[in-house]
Each structure stands twice: as structure tokens, then as C-alpha cells.
């Protein structure tokens, strides 16, 4: 590792300060607050709180609704990560093949990323709401009993679709960059070695994209776990029943709607541990199989 020595002792800290301040105020401070609150119980009026040890955690793990949220989150995250990565890779490969209009397609593909999660949620709601959805009507005409307000699986499909749609742009951008970094001559060598396009993709392109794919897997997991709150809030509010209530949504629901502060804080601590563990796992075990050029 190269050590960089700055002649000025103060300037580096000044330059780092805004970033550090944001991280401290918006991440470490709330995280510390969550830890503190997770071992306290607050009275209904928020006037006093007392130390209860791990009581909140015990309660959370004994709550069937929490275990349900855990299951919903696993299903939701896996589906979103899988489809967002898969579809984005497919689109990136198809756009790379174009001779004309590459730039145009790339630009168009990036647009959904600029849409705020809640707006994206509303967009999908307007399309698929059973009573006024533009696309719900043709679905029913096709004989599908479309009603995500009553059918939990359909609701799940809807939020997965909305969350995926929004993340595809981001993944697409990285896959395009990753594809461009693969030297053309490798594919030519493969063509001469007798590989058809499909074989060359799976034996050359896909393995060489692994660093990009791995990075996106980490980012997409975190996205599905945290950043999809807005979409779920706008489209289903966790319903029908609790069939689309993810861990993050339950943290919000218990804390800000039901005002069970201790439980909500305990849940957010658990969620934090899950994400840290998951990311550590990905780096420890999956990254080993990644070849960096």
C-alpha cells in the first residue's frame, strides 16, 4: 500500500469534514440512538423510559408477525435482486450488439433511475390498481383475476416489479461499463476457437463481468432491504394483510404508526446486523470466486 503524506496537516481534515459530518449525523448518531432505545421501554406518552435489557429483542423474535416480515423480506429481496440483475444484464448485452442508436437506448434506459421511489410506486399503482389501473383492465379481460388489494401474491408481484423496474437502470449502467471493459479481441479469439455467441457469453463475458455482478449483488441486496420502503409504502402499505410487509416497513409501522419505540428500535438493530452480516458473507465467500482483471 502506498502511503500518501500531505504537507498540510489541517486541509485534509477540512476536506473530509463534510462527508464525515454527514456520516456521523445521519448514520452513526441514529444508529447509536437505535441501540440505546432498543434496550429501553417507553411509556405510552413518551414521558419516561426504563431499562429492560434484551426484553425488546425477545419479544420481537417471539412475534409471528416479525417472522412473517422476515420471510416476506427474503422472498422480496431475492426476487428483486435476481430480476433486477438478470434483466439489466440482458438489456445491456442487447444494447451492446446495436450498431446504431446505442447512445439513445442507453440514455432512455437510465431515466427510471431519476424517478423517486414513491413516485415509481405511484406509477405502478396507477397502472395496476384493480379499480382504476390502466393495465388492470386488460389483465382482467385476459381472464386473470387481478386484484392486488386482496391477493397477497399479486401484491408481492406488483411491488417486486416496481422495485425491480427502478433498479434496472442502475444495474444496466454498470453492466454496460463492464461489458465495454472486456477487450473485443477476447471475443474474436473465442469466435476463432469455435465458440458461438451464447457459449462465448457464458464462458468469457459472464466470468469477466463477475466483479461488476458481485458489486451489484451487494448494492442490490442493500437496495432491496432498505431503499424499497417508498415503493412499498406507496403501492401496498405492507398489505393486503401483512403479505408485503418487509422488515424495514415493519420498523416504520411499529415505530411511527404504532409508536412502539422499543420494539421498533430493536428491529432496526436486528436489520442492521443482518445487512452487515450479509455483506460480510458476500465479501468473504462469493468474492473469492470473482476474477479481477
Amino acid at each position: 500500500m502506498r502511503r500518501t503524506v500531505f504537507p498540510n496537516k489541517v486541509l485534509p481534515w477540512v476536506l473530509l469534514a463534510p462527508q464525515l459530518a454527514i456520516t456521523l449525523i445521519f448514520f452513526y448518531w441514529p444508529a447509536a440512538q437505535a441501540f440505546r432505545q432498543s434496550v429501553l421501554r417507553e411509556d405510552p406518552f413518551g414521558l419516561s423510559s426504563k431499562y429492560v435489557g434484551l426484553e425488546n429483542f425477545r419479544k420481537v423474535f417471539a412475534d409471528p408477525a416479525y417472522l412473517n416480515a422476515m420471510q416476506v423480506t427474503v422472498v422480496f429481496s431475492l426476487l428483486v435482486a435476481f430480476f433486477a440483475l438478470g434483466i439489466a444484464l440482458f438489456l445491456a448485452v442487447q444494447v451492446e450488439k446495436l450498431v446504431r442508436g446505442k447512445g439513445f437506448y442507453r440514455t432512455m434506459m437510465i431515466w427510471p433511475y431519476a424517478v423517486a421511489p414513491a413516485i415509481a410506486g405511484m406509477l405502478w399503482l396507477f397502472m395496476f390498481n384493480p379499480s382504476f389501473g390502466t393495465l388492470a383492465y386488460p389483465l382482467r379481460l385476459m381472464g386473470i383475476d387481478w386484484n392486488p388489494l386482496l391477493n397477497g401474491d399479486q401484491a408481492m408481484a406488483l411491488v417486486v416489479a416496481a422495485a425491480t423496474w427502478k433498479q434496472i437502470s442502475y444495474n444496466f449502467l454498470f453492466f454496460v461499463a463492464g461489458l465495454q471493459a472486456i477487450p473485443r479481441s477476447l471475443l474474436e479469439a473465442a469466435a476463432i476457437d469455435g465458440a458461438n455467441r451464447r457459449h462465448a457469453f457464458w464462458t468469457i463475458v459472464f466470468p469477466l463481468l463477475a466483479p461488476t455482478t458481485f458489486f451489484l449483488l451487494v448494492v442490490n441486496t442493500v437496495y432491496a432491504l432498505f431503499d424499497t420502503f417508498g415503493i412499498i409504502h406507496a403501492v401496498t402499505s405492507g398489505g393486503p394483510g401483512k403479505s408485503t410487509e418487509t422488515l424495514v416497513y415493519k420498523v416504520y409501522n411499529d415505530g411511527f404508526v404504532n409508536l412502539i419505540m422499543g420494539s421498533s428500535a430493536a428491529q432496526s438493530v436486528i436489520l442492521m446486523v443482518i445487512v452487515i452480516a450479509l455483506t460480510a458473507f458476500q465479501f468473504r465467500f462469493i468474492e473469492k470466486r470473482v476474477h479481477y482483471g
Partner: protein
């Protein structure tokens, strides 16, 4: 083993023709070198044979089969790329076995073929390494090995030695020559290096701006260059070429010197070429060209003298013996050796 036939091969990009009709018959087992300066279309020509570039007009036949519309994999060729194009995520062994696996060769045979090639190229200790853990020369050999194991009917090499240092280049050049003698495969080799071209080729294609100026043996190309471009490109140091006025039996050189050339007919302006090694220092006489030396490069066995024809700014290069006493500033007289001059048309550049 392949017999390759190029018929009036042309290539255009967006209406701009870059290869202007190349016709060549390459018999089975011949080593053909495509040589020319950068941008002359030599790599494009090779890539057209490989199937990596489309063909705008004309045909390529391999063993009597027109391959214009065949994919590279259907042409039964192997290619070595300038940057080697090794698969970075595969070991040396996997790199070499890649094509064989696709061809569904049984595993035992693949192992045997890879081992044989690795032995031949002295790569055995590196079979399980990834390309990035290899030196430039080793990578180059892996690229050769990958082409060799497939025993294709033709071998295409695109400037395979240009990324190596000078010493390694000489070594690999000899190895490639040996390999060709051993396997007897039809080989097309692209280079801009005239030493590689002259030493490796059975026949050369000297390309200039998308035209094959001359297709001939290295000896013929050197002795009787077909165009002024070929004359200037092949040979080191480059041939001296002057614009002279041809009169009957006499050429008027720059500076007004009259060089007797028996048998020369009156042509007006022509281009006269004289190789440095064909100019000898002689005693002053009317048949000699006076040259004022501007610098001497002493290389040991040889020395190169650079000067100008006295009274003009026409540059002349001389090849002198290492024992020469000539110094900077000397005025010497040189005369061309008997029958060693080249005349080119001033308009077309073609040999006269």
C-alpha cells in the same frame, strides 16, 4: 493444410474503399508475410481471411470452398493476436484447451494435445498459472500454443511479436520459423517489421494504402522492387531515391551531375533508386557522384555515411566498411555497382 485463394478482395467502410482488390494464390504449406506501414490495410486483410471482418467484394476460398459468408469457427483457422487475447480468468491449460473443449474432443486427447504443445513451447511449468502471472514472452507462447493445439488448416498471425523486446523477438522469430517447418501449415503473418518479413516469408505481400504493390519472394522484392514504395520500404537503411532527368545513356542528377548510364533511353523525369550497399567509394572521375558527408554512424563491421550530393540538397546514404577512414565533412566520390540501379516512373512509381 489449406490452399487459400484470394480473388479481387475488396473492403469498404462507409463507402470508403480501404482494400482495393487483392488477388493471391497461396499454395498449401506456404508461409506468406503481409508487410506494410501502419494503416496500409494489412491487418484488415488478415481479419478478412479470419472472418472477423466482412468482405465487401471478391472471394476468399479455402481448399476450394468459398468462405465469404462462413463464421470464423467454420473456417478451420487459428489466429494469434497482437495483444495475445488470452482469456484472463482461465489458466494456461484452460486457455489452450478452450477450442478443443468446444470441438467436443475427448478429455484424454485434450490433455495429450495441450501437453504436447506445452512441451514444444516450454510452457509445462506454467500450465496452471493465470495469464497475468506470466511474462510477455510466456504469454506470447501461450497464444501460439492455443493456436497450435487445434491443428487448424491455416495459421494466421497478426503482429505476434510486436509487444516483445528485441532479444525475445529474435528468439520467437526463429521458433515460429521452426514451427512452420515442423508442421508445414499454411501461414499468413502480418508485420510492419521488415526483418521479420524478410526472414520468415516464403513470399511477401507488400501492401501500400490498400494495394498489394508486390507479391513475390523476399529475394525478388529486394532485388527487383515493383514500385518505388516497395523499394523505399524494404531494405535498411532505405534505398536512395532521386528525381533525375533521363537522357540517352546519361542521367542528370540533382546538382547537375551527369552520371553515364549505358542503355538508358531518354524519358525525361524519372526516379532513380540506388541502395546504400550498391554505392562504392571510387576515385574522382566524371562517372562518379560527388558526396559531402554530413555524419558517419559506425556500427562495428559496417558504417553508414549520410551526406548530400555536392551542390544539391539530395540526401544520400552510403554503406561503408567498418574500417573506412571517411570522416564528417569529407567530400567523397561514389559510383553505383554494375547493373544495380532501379528506375521508377515519376508518375506511377512503377518499375521501368
Amino acid at each position: 493444410m489449406a490452399h487459400i485463394l484470394l480473388k479481387d478482395l475488396r473492403k469498404s467502410y462507409a463507402g470508403q474503399e480501404v482494400i482495393h482488390g487483392i488477388t493471391m494464390d497461396i499454395p498449401n504449406g506456404e508461409f506468406v508475410v503481409i508487410v506494410g506501414p501502419s494503416g496500409c490495410g494489412k491487418s484488415t486483410l488478415l481479419r478478412m481471411v479470419a472472418g472477423l471482418e466482412g468482405i465487401s467484394a471478391g472471394t476468399i476460398e479455402i481448399d476450394g470452398r468459398v468462405v465469404n459468408d462462413l463464421e470464423p469457427r467454420q473456417r478451420d483457422i487459428a489466429m494469434v493476436f497482437q495483444n495475445y487475447a488470452l482469456y484472463p480468468h482461465m489458466s494456461v491449460r484452460e486457455n489452450m484447451a478452450y477450442g478443443l473443449k468446444i470441438a467436443k474432443m475427448p478429455k484424454a486427447e485434450i490433455d495429450a494435445a495441450v501437453t504436447r504443445a506445452a512441451k514444444m513451447l516450454e510452457l509445462e511449468p506454467y500450465l496452471d498459472r493465470k495469464p497475468r502471472a506470466l511474462s510477455g514472452g510466456q504469454r506470447q507462447r501461450v497464444a501460439m500454443g492455443r493456436a497450435l493445439v487445434r491443428t487448424p488448416s491455416a495459421f494466421l498471425l497478426d503482429e505476434p511479436l510486436s509487444n516483445l523486446d528485441a532479444k525475445l523477438r529474435v528468439q520467437m522469430r526463429m521458433q515460429i520459423k521452426d514451427m512452420h517447418l515442423n508442421t508445414g501449415q499454411t501461414t499468413l503473418y502480418v508485420t510492419h517489421d521488415q526483418v521479420e518479413a524478410m526472414t520468415l516469408a516464403d513470399r511477401l505481400i507488400v501492401m501500400n494504402k490498400g494495394i498489394a504493390d508486390q507479391i513475390a519472394t523476399p529475394h525478388e522484392v529486394y532485388e527487383t522492387p515493383a514500385t518505388e514504395f516497395v523499394a523505399g520500404f524494404i531494405g535498411s537503411p532505405a534505398m536512395n531515391i532521386f528525381t533525375v532527368t533521363a537522357e540517352a545513356g546519361m542521367a542528370v542528377l540533382p546538382g547537375g551531375h551527369r552520371l553515364p548510364l549505358p542503355g538508358l533511353a531518354a524519358h525525361g523525369k524519372v526516379r532513380l533508386g540506388l541502395r546504400p550497399e550498391d554505392l562504392e567509394i571510387v576515385d574522382a572521375s566524371t562517372a562518379a557522384i560527388p558526396v559531402v558527408l554530413r555524419s558517419i554512424e559506425w556500427l562495428g563491421a559496417d558504417a553508414f555515411g549520410y551526406g548530400m550530393i555536392d551542390g544539391s540538397d539530395a540526401l544520400v546514404t552510403l554503406r561503408l566498411a567498418g574500417s573506412t577512414g571517411a570522416k564528417r565533412g569529407d567530400r567523397v566520390h561514389v559510383a553505383p555497382k554494375e547493373g544495380r540501379l532501379h528506375l521508377f516512373s515519376a508518375e506511377s512509381g512503377k518499375r521501368m
